[in-house]
């Protein structure tokens, strides 16, 4: 798309209008978007075309439209986080990611659906209704960033932004046959990202190809003084790494297969496609070693203590005083009465579960046994990664243990829902970057399988090199992209 814009084969206005038309045609069925800003996107597209005509595009992606997860503040565009408590809230400022997209000339098509405050693995916890997987509309698109992944898979947007706290970019990528990248923690600014668990949250690209992710990562990444956890280091040549990888030569690259993330508990077809992909990398010259990360068995438990603890504190800001929903009970209610009523009315079940759990884990008497232990396990997980990266340049695993499940199947069984993130969570706890790319369709259900690549902190370029190599090798086997095999969505006529 960027090449067509550069050569003049198309214009940003034409591209943006085509995607807006596609949204009108299929989003009734997919429900990937919560807000569409047709007028704003077309105005940004016209400005982009004018820049290009004047010979001064703002970036390599100038004019390519994008959708943004509804957890990132966008000035003048509603930002709800999938919650009733923020219904109708229009931020007075842009998140750094949104500001960088605008500065680079990418028209923002709209905001994508998500589990409320990014809490979930299926997008069913959105207060505005679930998003449907374009591969099978009865199935979940993953979560929490199911809207971003589904929009990209359904060709409603060529690019999207997601956020990943325990896998919310990578797991939706896996189950929708798209590419998703969680950068190194601190590699992309969190300023204006509504926090769920600040020590884990990270925004990143959601795209159809590995190179697109690298290009988008270069636009949104890099130091931001507005985020005190932002890392003041160069990003590395990410797109160059992807281009180099696409040549398909893996000679000298050491790939570690994580023993604990596979086998029992993983769907047979997921494991099969993963093993086949590893074999392709070996054929391309990679050296494969088995690595063991024994502490990973405790990662899920540590995550489900740290994340709710941080969330219970972060979500205290929704107090009905300065912004958001205010419910005023009858009589002469105090501010506290109003807070309690507003938070009950504004938050959904999963958010309440996590706030209560976090409040419990942080209570005196339980703190050491739960939160304190979870933070120690975090240290053990980082040590496991360190040891594993001494043996391998990148680590690999299936992204999610299963393909997309049916909508409603796990809604009232939180523990079963949490297990979806078992392979993605360790990277968040250790702050390292991870990428998921499609590895094919599981033979038993014909649904996409995700392949995860993990690299040491600040070595995001390795994700792109190995990811692009595997993508090229797989597409060579398939004779095209995986999404070419997705069922056609019925287009509603407006």
């Amino acid at each position: 798309m960027a090449a067509d814009l550069a050569s003049g084969a198309t214009t940003s206005v034409a591209l943006t209008r085509a995607h807006l038309d596609r949204i009108s045609a299929v989003d009734g069925a997919v429900h990937a978007l919560l807000h569409v800003d047709a007028e704003g996107a077309l105005a940004q597209a016209a400005a982009s075309d004018a820049r290009r005509a004047a010979g001064s595009p703002a970036s390599g992606l100038d004019g390519v439209p994008i959708a943004v997860k509804d957890v990132l503040a966008t000035e003048g565009l509603p930002t709800t986080c999938g919650s009733k408590i923020l219904e109708g809230w229009v931020p007075p400022y842009d998140a750094t990611v949104a500001a960088r997209l605008r500065a680079a000339g990418l028209p923002i098509l709209g905001k994508t659906n998500m589990d409320e405050f990014a809490m979930g693995s299926s997008t069913e916890h959105s207060a505005y209704g679930p998003t449907h997987n374009p591969w099978d509309l009865d199935r979940i698109p993953g979560g929490s960033g199911g809207g971003s992944a589904a929009a990209v898979a359904a060709f409603e947007a060529p690019l999207a932004i997601g956020t990943d706290t325990g896998g919310s970019i990578r797991q939706p990528g896996a189950v929708t046959g798209t590419v998703g990248v969680k950068p190194t923690y601190g590699g992309v600014s969190r300023y204006g990202l509504v926090a769920m668990a600040n020590s884990l949250d990270q925004a990143g690209p959601v795209t159809r190809t590995v190179l697109d992710s690298a290009l988008l990562h270069e636009v949104i990444g890099g130091y931001d003084p507005m985020d005190s956890t932002s890392i003041d280091e160069p990003l590395g040549a990410l797109a160059d790494a992807a281009r180099q990888g696409a040549a398909g030569d893996m000679t000298g690259v050491r790939i570690g297969v994580i023993t604990e993330l596979g086998g029992e508990g993983y769907q047979a077809g997921v494991q099969q496609r993963f093993d086949e992909a590893v074999a392709l990398l070996v054929k391309a010259g990679a050296e494969v070693v088995e690595v063991s990360c024994p502490s990973f068995v405790h990662a899920l438990a540590a995550y489900y203590l740290i994340m709710p603890s941080e969330a219970s504190s972060n979500l205290a800001r929704f107090d009905a005083m300065r912004y958001g929903l205010r419910v005023v009970p009858d009589g002469d209610p105090s501010a506290e009465d109003v807070m309690r009523a507003s938070r009950d009315a504004g938050f959904g079940d999963e958010v309440k579960r996590r706030i209560i759990l976090g409040t419990y884990a942080l209570s005196s008497g339980y703190y050491d046994a739960y939160y304190g232990q979870a933070q120690k396990v975090r240290t053990l997980i980082s040590r496991d990664f360190e040891a594993a990266f001494a043996q391998a340049d990148v680590l690999v695993s299936p992204t999610a243990p299963t393909t997309a499940f049916k909508i409603g199947a796990k809604l009232d069984d939180p523990v079963a829902m949490y297990l979806n993130d078992v392979a993605t969570i360790p990277a968040n706890l250790a702050g390292i970057p991870g990428l998921s790319l499609p590895a094919g369709l599981a033979p038993e259900d014909g649904l996409p399988v995700g392949f995860q690549v993990l690299a040491p902190a600040l070595a995001d370029d390795r994700l792109y090199r190995v990811g692009a190599a595997l993508e090229a090798l797989l597409e060579n086997e398939w004779g095209g992209a995986l999404l070419d095999r997705a069922p056609a969505l019925e287009e509603a006529t407006a």
């Binding site: 438990a301 205010r326 009465d337 739960y370 390292i432």
Partner: protein, 99 residues
């Protein structure tokens, strides 16, 4: 085996300033017990010799120069407030009658 009772959930909800209905308490208490049971395996995993990690990527504190930079106007900051008066957030009473 750890368990969160219905009364404990009600108390935690008070601490978290959420009015849970009876139906919600009935629904959430058993679910929270199941979740807690599934994470309880973590107790005792790491000994005293393991330092806790609160932040995975080591960083030193960041300071900026103490200079005024442009910020939101009062109108912008108040635009989304549930209620405002005289360029201020208008909130319900914060003290009881007897105070």
């Amino acid at each position: 085996m750890p368990e969160i009772t219905r009364d404990e959930v009600a108390h935690l909800a008070t601490l978290a300033r959420i009015d849970l209905s009876d139906a919600e308490l009935d629904h959430l208490a058993p679910q929270l017990s199941v979740i807690l049971e599934s994470v309880a395996s973590i107790t005792g995993v790491a000994g005293d010799d393991v330092p806790p990690t609160s932040h995975a990527i080591p960083l030193t504190n960041v300071f900026r120069d103490d200079v005024v930079t442009p910020s939101l106007t009062a109108e912008q900051a108040l635009a989304m407030a549930p209620a405002s008066e005289q360029q201020r957030f208008l909130v319900p009473r914060i003290l009881g009658d007897e105070q």
